[in-house]
Amino acid sequence: MSIRERLSGNEAIAFAMKQINPDVVAAFPITPSTEIPQYFSQYVADGQVDTEFVPVESEHSAISACVGSQAAGARTMTATSSCGLALMHEILYIAASNRLPITIAAINRALSGPININADHSDTMGSRDSGWIQIYSENNQEAYDNFIQALKIVEHKDVQLPAMVCQDGFITSHAVENIELIEDAKVKEFVGEYNPECYLLNEKQPMSVGPYDTPSYYLEHKRQQAEGMKNAKIVALEVAKEFEKISGRKYGLFEAYKLEDAEAAIVIINSTAGTAKDAVDKMRNEGKKVGLLKIRLFRPFPAEEIAEALKHVKVLAAMDKTESFSSQGGPLGAEIKAALYHEEKSPKIVNYIYGLGGRDVKVEDISSVYEDLYEILATGVTGETYRYLSVRNQEGK
């Protein structure tokens, strides 16, 4: 029997960590992820876990400590947000290229500047090419479920890559909502013990971690790393199947909502997907065939499967909660366009930048996107493909 609870997104992650009881957690506080190490350190102090908790002096040190302990053979995790993740940037690549399956709870928050503590995806999108698996979560339930599943994906022998499990800062990290928790024993059995093939503290098999790599081998090592990332897609689905057995909850590479017969659809990430589902239902009641695709895995990007799910749609909006300053849209827009490029009848695609720095997104905002899509459908004219949602201009203050 699952446990009916109410927890914030941060509480849910801290609780998952408690159930997993990792060997090491090294962390430095930053809003809005601070509560995770805060709650977890309470579990440590109360003896509810036997984790070595390493309070460090910066995020660069936090992830460096994680690299050291994971390389030593210890199951290791941390949490961060925004500038904290940015400060980890250098070491993210070290962790991934050394094939160290560390898990980060990433609580999405805008990067400075201007300084802002609220949600957008500029932090984790800034790390999207670092070699980390990225899993995104709509609400506290998904954050909890994804965090537990992530551990089994990253430690799989065919993957051995780190992962960040993302959710929107404040919007879900600080919102108390209903959640179904899994019993301790089931979680522990699901994640099992961490038994790495190779690790630094194995005296019978001496090894070095992170030495200089010459041009003769670097390219091959990167190719192997990319192979691990490709495998993560298959492993994620296997893990999801196993997870369904203990939770009753189904996960895929993404979620398709009322997409099968949709003529107009949006592709969206994290908490706004929930708001958008309400917009879809409202428009469906008005007889409009709309749907949505919610990203779960962004790295690896399941391009073929997404293309298959979207190719029948006539007009599509990719929703980016970050700017990439490419002058043609955001990272999700770029991936979606690339994924559909090889389809004979690709949908018309527009890309919206929305919700930056915690700008609230209402059901009506998403409805207005669908209305824009129907306008394209009616006129056949796509118009500007790089758009801003609900942004004030100079006239309309």
Binding site: D168, I171, T172, H174, E177, G274, V363
Partner: protein, 193 residues
């Protein structure tokens, strides 16, 4: 039948409006509902106007936006009436609940634009007489439960007792004071009818 109740709390940083919203989410959860309780974060400083929200429903809640057309508005600090458009978007069949020593009629004459039912509760007086200190959120929590009829009053008191017993295990006298604050608020609003 699906029923969604949306509540917006207005307070000042440090007064416990966020805590009250989370307490309401807790107690509604205990009675079997789906809940959301969340604050709107701005610059964090004591005394700054803050907003917190509740959604309470019989069905799963998916929306993750702030609340613009609430069924109920709770004003924890009377001085906000002057500076914040607290009644903005409030549904006409909804209600505003204000922490003040004034009567609803006095509020109505000062703010004729409040186009809804108005309830007032002197949370300061109730809190000081039951707890010996000014913690407005306990009376305001009882007031919103009373006005919204979100749950049975006895069930509410029962659940709150559990919650206080858990929270103040080391300070039993605080439990009684808080319970008295809730009961006194419920009775005062009875008398208003």
């Amino acid at each position: 039948m699906s029923k969604l109740t949306e509540i917006r709390w207005h307070g000042r940083g440090g007064q416990g409006a966020k805590t009250a919203a989370l307490l309401l989410a807790d107690v509604a959860f205990s009675t079997g509902m789906y809940v959301q309780g969340f604050p709107e974060y701005g610059p964090e400083r004591m005394g700054a106007p803050i907003t917190a929200y509740n959604r309470i429903s019989e069905d799963k809640i998916r929306v993750h936006s702030n609340i613009y057309e609430p069924n109920y508005v709770v004003v924890v600090d009377e001085s906000l009436l002057e500076s914040v458009p607290v009644a903005k978007g409030l549904k006409k069949d909804g209600a505003i609940i204000i922490n003040t020593a004034k009567t609803p009629e006095e509020i109505k004459s000062n703010y004729p634009n409040y186009d809804c039912r108005i309830y007032t509760i002197d949370a300061k007086e109730i809190s000081e007489s039951t707890l010996g200190k000014y913690f407005p959120n306990t009376p305001m929590l009882a007031a919103v439960v009373k006005v919204s009829k979100l749950m049975d009053e006895n069930r509410f008191l029962e659940e709150m007792k559990h919650s206080f017993e858990h929270k103040f295990a080391a300070k039993p006298n605080v439990i009684e004071g808080n319970m008295n604050a809730l009961i006194m608020t419920l009775r005062r609003l009875d008398d208003d009818k």
